[in-house]
Subunit: 228 residues, 2 copies
DNA sequence: GGAGGTAGTTAAAAAGTGTTAAAGCACTTT
DNA sequence: AAAGTGCTTTAACACTTTTTAACTACCTCC
């Protein structure tokens, strides 16, 4: 099972590193940011699966941060940490699209349980992440053998075609950012690689076009999404 | 290769025997149980290599059954069949330690591919890196004596052929990079050696071509992989 | 609505691979 | 020493995969 990549934005250094250590011990990959601006920078720079944001932070508060994060990734689960049981905070938090919130002080164990609950809830279509065989509309894709089959025909995919399709299959109905795909498959993210990736997107679409129910959709400036 | 002994727990009699027949035709040894209790009895009575468990069954559901099976054998691969795409089921399934799951209705071909993928995955640890004798599909390869045997014939391999095949056998389903193979077998990595290696790849493929289930696959620019 | 970045597509260049046959080499046999 | 034998390397050509380039279309924001 892959590690969950978690962004923790918390200005209180003591609490921040305590949480980071605890969550890392629980096998999360935790990046700690010490204010809202730093958190946004880090978020835009790498890929995350989950955000824990303190509401009151210097430079940029948790809610504004959440809004900007949501424009980049409308799906990512967000859990807020509020300093006091402030009615206002709670309301505002859910308006921004919080998946949950916790009022300090809280037990780390409870936090962990809530994170797990949210992950369960939001992980809807996701299949076994280690799977090597995927079912895609009328296709069956065997990523080990690089074979994309349908009832009547079988395509032998090249390495790159297969790698890219596998990445999409592992992230069905989720946005895969360009830079993530490029780093993962092409090893790094540069302008020229980017155009190479576009060529492969075209190729995959050609293979898949006989089933209208699945498509690789572009989200302008954000990345691609395999919807099915 | 011996037959894989497979326990199939499925209360729907039609589906159950259909699957049983299909999998037996694919050379599995299939025992069909029609509820959870019967499945457990059978499991405790004999030896199995693989379990396919329906989640919803009378008397004992698939998850409870899986737990009891796991106490007896924590290693055995388990694949669940779920009636509908129930989020809960999936999560619970993976908590119990499912290796994969499939949602009804599914194609039998996909089921077969997934079973094979799991078997490949879980068998990996079995490979003894110091072994001198390898089983490769219908072949037996003795790297000490440079002999590649099948039921009806025996090939005497040359030193280089044998060294290269041994390297692949020690890294089944893993990518072996060109430069690694060249350094190990040819002593160094230069353009001309590289072409020599290609010639040997061709030779090995010729030996192995009578068994379609094993193949030496090229990963463009990365290396080769023996998949079986 | 136009500028500038982003994406879709095709074709050609470049890099890498598959295969066959002949040349080279070491080692035996005559 | 010449000829033969078996293995390995080199060379050559066809082919595949990946990248680069070029052109077109599109989306977003001022």
């Amino acid at each position: 099972m892959n590690q969950i990549r978690l962004l923790l934005a918390e200005d209180d250094h003591n609490l921040g590193s305590l949480l980071q250590e605890y969550l890392m011990a629980k096998d999360f990959n935790v990046t700690l940011a010490k204010d809202g601006n730093q958190a946004l920078d880090v978020f835009l720079d790498s890929e995350f699966d989950f955000c824990i944001l303190d509401v009151m932070m210097p430079k940029k508060d948790g809610f504004s941060l959440a809004k900007e994060i949501r424009t980049k990734n409308p799906e990512i689960p967000i859990l807020f940490l509020t300093a006091k049981s402030m009615q206002e905070d709670t309301i505002k938090g859910f308006e921004v699209g919080a998946d949950d919130y916790m009022t300090k002080p809280f037990s780390m164990e409870e936090l962990l349980l809530r994170i797990k609950a949210i992950l369960k809830r939001t992980k809807k279509g996701e299949i076994n992440p280690d799977a090597e065989v995927f079912s895609l509309g009328k296709f069956i894709f065997n990523s080990l053998q690089h074979e994309l089959k349908t009832g009547d025909q079988i395509y032998k995919l090249t390495t790159k075609e297969s790698d890219l399709l596998k990445l999409f299959c592992q992230n069905q109905n989720k946005t895969v950012s360009r830079s993530y795909a490029l780093k993962l498959i092409w090893g790094d993210d540069s302008y020229f690689n980017a155009r190479s990736m576009d060529v492969y997107i075209t190729k995959l679409r050609k293979y898949l076009k006989s089933d209208a129910s699945i498509q690789i959709m572009n989200l302008h400036g954000e990345g691609f999404k395999l919807v099915c």
